[in-house]
Amino acid sequence: MNRRAFISLAGVGAASAYVATKIGKSPEPALAAGPAGKSGVAILKAASYEVDLVRPMLEGARACGLDVKGKRVLLKPNLVEFDAATAINTDARVIAAAYEVMQRLGAAEVLIGEGPGHRRDTYDLAEEAKYFEALPNFERVFTDLNRDDVTAVANFAGEGRFYFPNTALRADLIVSVAKMKTHHWAGATLSMKNFFGVVPGSVYGWPKNKLHYVGIPEAIVALNRQFSRTFAIVDGIVGMEGNGPIQGRPKQAGVFVMGSDLVAVDATCCRIMGIDPERVEYLRMAADMGHVRANDIEQRGEGVASVRTPFELIDRFRKLRLS
């Protein structure tokens, strides 16, 4: 039995032990070469959720050459749990702005879908997070991905047959509208980890323990290989530091980070958060899919240095700190 199989058996609890053994190992093997050319990633300042979010988001989308004309777009927020005292979920106003931006850019249809990993009542979670208030037509455009009809795909993460929600499979473009947070198993949860929410609870349960069996970094990468027509908008206006993704503290970074190379978007977010992306395991594993190295990423809008906001890291991830 190898280490991954052990983690598989242990599920969530053992993931901590696994992570503890994985970080801080040095030297790491060299990063895989990424795709040809550079990836554009836009960083836009937004001081709060009260300001006009549509304008900077439109600027970012245009800077990244986002083309949604005639497409069926699925916005995938990060809805996890609700706690008014902190900042767990993608803010409803960011989703509302993204909805408007996709419409203005000519999308044929804009849908919203999410399948939270712990809570069963997705609609109540959305209500608490004020999604119904921010989007008057929310119920009409929203799909609970945990309870959507599904279709099997072959050979996902070594599984002969793995089920995904039809709403996600049929989208021409999935926009991961994620939250900028630290994560106590993965180091950070950004646009790529957000794809855990497309795995249906009706088949895999709450939590989606099968993904822990695949391995958390491995599952993040496999999901992003499966869903490759994607774009990212990371809500870093107020993110979460410390013991994320649920029990951390709010941290204002005052930015959106956007792009079509999700690896590059997450690497950029890490640099903003003061995390070395080249030491984050899932990004290392995804280095053939997109760009991790700063030299391969063309920053548009703001530069990383001008918005850098170090997020507090829990002890076991201090070694990820960008020097």
């Binding site: 039995m1 009542d121 109540d124 088949v203 895999y204 349960g205």
Partner: protein
């Protein structure tokens, strides 16, 4: 008022049954065992729904797999935790003994993967450590994965009901172990969440719906659930989730508490599973079908 509340949900269920006899999670969607099971429980004993119930039962019969488990849905032929619901339905009908026995034996074979020998040896030799007590076998969402609160609670209810009809001492042994597993996974606040009471030694909060389900599984253990029942009463007052409220009403009534009829002023969501659970949870609904005795 009760008549209007229940009739609205009954009519919804009758109107949204699929041609194959099952129900989707939402109207117009393909059939899944979970909403189908709750719809059958909600309509149980309704003479005006006998043809719908017959069609639904035929689907449930056809979805049992050769190993005794039940498939999750029309598009998902895999046997999952919903086997517990299949067993509960068989116990309630009382005339499907072969299916019941096969289902029970399947449930008795299943346990969370954290119990496998290799894992336990690796844990013993310090190659990994988890923050939960894994000494009591419980049930996973899918075979071969770890055990969690909700599938464990549903399976305990199923086995307690089946234990009246199928005589096998392992049933009660597994029930007692399952109850212990639930008790060891209680959150510090006295309730339950999905099954991780703490992460990195930081306590996690409980959820109303998981607390309700754990209380259903722990029927007959009054001393151990005094705090949890108090928590459930608080959740009942405060919860904004219609789903959680329905499960809390079912659980509190299973524990002999009176629950007031729900407010029906807000139009219900077009959500089949929720409608069925709300009908089941109503004081005049069939919530008693999930009432069980204590483990022997």
């Amino acid at each position: 008022m009760a008549e209007v509340y229940l009739a609205r949900r009954r009519d919804f269920l009758l109107r949204t049954q699929n041609l194959d006899g099952g129900w989707g999670y939402f109207p117009g969607k393909s059939s899944w065992l979970e909403p189908t099971a709750y719809a059958i429980l909600a309509l149980h004993g309704d003479d005006g729904a006998s043809s719908e119930l017959t069609r639904a039962w035929r689907l449930v019969e056809s979805w049992q797999l050769p190993d005794g488990s039940w498939r999750a849905g029309a598009q998902v032929p895999d046997g999952t935790w919903v086997t517990a619901l299949g067993v509960t339905l068989c116990s309630i009908r009382g005339d499907a003994r072969d299916m019941l026995v096969k289902g029970v034996h399947h449930l008795l074979r299943i346990q969370g993967a954290e119990r496998c020998t290799t894992f336990r040896l690796m844990e013993l030799f310090g190659l990994g450590k988890i923050e939960m007590d894994t000494s009591h076998p419980a049930w996973p969402w899918r075979p071969g994965t770890s055990s969690w609160v909700e599938p464990t609670a549903h399976t305990i209810v199923a086995l307690k009901r089946a234990g009246k009809l199928v005589h096998d001492r392992w049933i009660w042994q597994r029930v007692r172990e399952g109850e212990q597993a639930l008790l060891t996974r209680r959150c510090a606040d006295g309730g339950w969440n999905h099954g991780s009471a703490s992460t990195f030694h930081i306590d996690a909060p409980s959820y109303p719906e998981s607390t309700a389900l754990a209380l259903l599984g722990l029927q007959g253990r009054p001393i151990e659930v005094v705090r949890a029942l108090a928590m459930a009463r608080e959740f009942w007052k405060a919860s904004t989730s219609p789903l959680a409220s329905a499960w809390l009403a079912i659980a509190l009534q299973a524990w002999g508490e009176n629950v007031p009829a729900p407010d029906d002023s807000k139009p219900p969501r077009e959500d089949t599973m929720l409608m069925a659970l709300q009908a089941l949870a109503h004081p005049q609904g069939n919530h008693g079908l999930l009432r069980t005795r204590a483990a022997l």
